[in-house]
Symmetry: C2
Subunit: 129 residues, 2 copies
Amino acid sequence: MAVNKYSRQREAIKEYLAHTKEHPTADTVYMNIRATYPNISLGTVYRNLNLLAEQGEIIKLNCQDGSDRFDGNVKPHYHFLCNNCGRVHDIEMESIDHINKIAGAGFDGKIEGHVTFFYGVCPDCMRNE
Amino acid sequence: MAVNKYSRQREAIKEYLAHTKEHPTADTVYMNIRATYPNISLGTVYRNLNLLAEQGEIIKLNCQDGSDRFDGNVKPHYHFLCNNCGRVHDIEMESIDHINKIAGAGFDGKIEGHVTFFYGVCPDCMRNE
DNA sequence: TTTGATGCAAATGTTTTGCATGCAA
DNA sequence: TTGCATGCAAAACATTTGCATCAAA
């Protein structure tokens, strides 16, 4: 695979994702990067998001509400989707990898991992109701 | 909310989903129903799938590969996505609802539930490799 | 120079919607 | 009859892609 050339746009996208906890969609990334690079195109944003995700520098979240969102935090962690405001939060929690074994008990295939989304009401929405 | 009127198309969709374990996409449902009702339109298929899902008669699966699929089995159960053939299988397993508590321990919001997808290699693909 | 990256616009794939007509109640 | 459901086609979205140009290396 060819090595990436430097590009200001890609750096800006990485930088933005590294400093936000918003779990933005591709379009939201686009809007934010445009504040700094007004000429950046949506195509470039998509190309770079996919490239960075393939290379493991960011994570592409296939959210339960159907949207794709991006996360600059590549450490394994879980996510929470608020049914009220629709925002995605990180959850710090102990490992639940043992559920792979539980699932494997009644299944003849090979279970390599799992993806889990929690949902409910987020702290912000609980306060403001 | 108005009560549904009977429609052969909607019945055919329910019937089809009740007897398959394929977890088909909307387009696959469309293709299959067309065998019986050649004039059915994709719009009708989408309208009915969404209607049935809203009413809890079928389940809309937001699959980890990005596709939306439908399941006629509304009993709570888990799903497995094969990384090799891309098919979705049902998994019979004991409850793992305790992970909601584990997640709640480090989170200030209210956790109402979770959605989990397991992935790996399915039994069919393990045999044929 | 060479070649990957970009901006732009067109193309693609999926899902939704408007509307006249059909059909269940 | 009434009004929900349908078929059809157009519209709406989200994402990808072709291509000429730009800019790292």
